[in-house]
């Protein structure tokens, strides 16, 4: 009798899992067509821009609604167009990429604000410090790639203080406020 009960429980669990898979889709971030830019003040004068070249992750959706965001960025892919400056950014003065190789965002809650806009609350881990952040996510469009996979694009822009994440060096010259602009292209079925 016990064995039959166990079998039924397993069957119910598998069925529930398969139902979940059907109703919630997972989309992979296409790193070639996705971008993360950052902007920071330099010596109080100009805005210096940079990007991260290596990101990956996935979005989960339920129908039209985004239900989860999970992004991983390789910190040593930082690129400001100047190899020496990139080296400095990777060093212990800033990202310390040997100790903190990844920057991650993992949503804990996604709220639908409108047809194409969402608010994702989650944990951002940068320089080994995890802090909750809330970001707005706008769906920029949908399409189909040559392989027939459904595509969707999302934009987000938000600011943070690097000192909140323990990156407090050279605050006199390099600004504390960092603007991040994220553009993701996600492909279903990968």
């Amino acid at each position: 009798m016990k064995r039959i009960g166990s079998c039924v429980a397993t069957w119910i669990s598998l069925a529930a899992l398969s139902v979940g898979t059907i109703s919630a889709d997972t989309q992979s971030v296409d790193k070639v067509h996705s971008t993360i830019l950052f902007r920071v003040k330099h010596l109080g004068a100009s805005n210096a821009w940079g990007r991260f070249n290596d990101l990956s992750g996935k979005l989960t959706t339920d129908g039209d609604a985004v239900t989860g965001v999970d992004i991983v960025v390789k910190a040593d892919s930082v690129d400001t167009g100047n190899a020496k400056r990139d080296e400095h950014l990777k060093n212990a003065d800033f990202f310390n990429t040997k100790q903190f190789p990844e920057i991650t965002f993992k949503s804990t809650k996604v709220k639908k604000l409108g047809d194409d806009s969402f608010e994702a609350t989650g944990d951002l881990t940068l320089h080994g410090v995890t802090k909750p952040v809330t970001v707005k996510l706008t769906r920029t469009g949908t399409g189909t790639n040559p392989k027939g996979a459904k595509l969707s694009g999302y934009d987000s822009s938000f600011s943070l203080k690097r000192s909140d994440f323990g990156m407090s060096n050279m605050l006199g010259g390099i600004g504390d406020d960092v603007l991040l602009t994220v553009s993701l292209e996600c492909a279903a079925g990968k």
């Binding site: 080296e87 310390n96 100790q99």
Partner: protein, 289 residues
């Protein structure tokens, strides 16, 4: 990119804190006959306190446990001060070597913890830490031996300049933080060397040699692992304090003391000057700030 605060806490405060501790340890205003032996234990305390004051003044006290492993240097200074005082209690080379190996193991182990987790194989990690330990032991032995032998000013001044050159090399190797910490260490070293020389004591006691060697090698290791200090520049700077050991060789010991000491001073400075020059050439290839 240095603020007045950086200059005050990176140079003036470490030197001042070191000076106050040394004067309190020596108490030269006491009646004649009071031996300046207090400088022997005052030296390592002045180095540690000056370095800590500079560190906290420029960067504020890091959290415990530190976020960046480089910041272990801050907390390492406390057991290092205790170890330095313990070293001074016995005049035995084995005692000095044993404590140096333990402190270097602690220092390099803490500094490289993330590399063990993310980058190194166990063999690589063991090779690095195992290599740094004998280097630290030899550095401590050479520093304390040449300090006992030295009577003139050239060698203490050479070590002081070496501290400044090492800080400059770290700065040019992509880490303002490590450069400033190197500067704070050099600033704290200034009164230690000069007061000891002035009082006729060895310019570095065994405890001060230990403190200096562990912090100096810690900064170089951090510069290589977490900044862009090249292996060649790291090796040149690590070899520089050892180069004064030429003065311990029998042929040179027979020369006039001032000549020997000048030669030792040049031996200390030459590799450091080469390191700074190489780092400066690399830096100038592509200035970005």
């Amino acid at each position: 990119m240095f603020t007045p605060r950086d200059v005050i806490f990176g140079a003036a405060v470490p030197a001042l804190v070191g000076l106050v501790i040394l004067l309190a340890a020596w108490r030269p205003w006491r009646a004649a006959g009071s031996a300046p032996r207090g400088l022997d234990w005052g030296g390592p305390l002045a180095l540690c306190a000056g370095f800590l004051a500079g560190y906290a003044g420029i960067f504020s006290r890091p959290p415990f446990p530190p976020l960046d492993s480089v910041d272990w240097l801050f907390y390492l200074t406390i057991p290092l001060a205790v170890a330095a005082l313990a070293v001074n209690t016995k005049d035995r080379a084995l005692w000095l070597v044993g404590i140096a190996v333990i402190m270097e193991g602690l220092s390099s182990g803490l500094l490289t913890l993330p590399l063990w987790q993310h980058t190194w194989s166990p063999v690589q990690g063991a090779a690095w830490v195992g290599g740094l330990e004998p280097l630290a032991a030899v550095t401590v032995l050479v520093l304390s031996a040449v300090a006992r032998q030295s009577k003139g000013l050239p060698l203490p001044v050479a070590y002081l300049v070496l501290g400044g050159l090492a800080a400059l090399t770290l700065l040019l190797s992509g880490s303002q933080k490590l450069g400033q910490l190197g500067g704070a260490l050099a600033a704290a070293l200034g009164p230690v060397l000069l007061l000891a020389w002035w009082s006729g004591r060895p310019f570095l006691s065994r405890g001060a040699s230990l403190t200096l060697a562990i912090l100096y090698l810690g900064l170089l290791a951090a510069g290589h692992f977490y900044a862009s200090l090249t292996p060649l520049n790291g090796a040149l700077l690590a070899a520089a304090p050892l180069a004064a050991g030429v003065g311990l060789l029998p042929p040179l010991r027979r020369l006039r003391p001032l000549f020997t000491e000048a030669l030792q001073a040049l031996s200390v400075l030459a590799p450091a000057i080469v390191a700074v020059a190489l780092a400066a050439i690399e830096f100038r290839k592509n200035t970005w700030e």
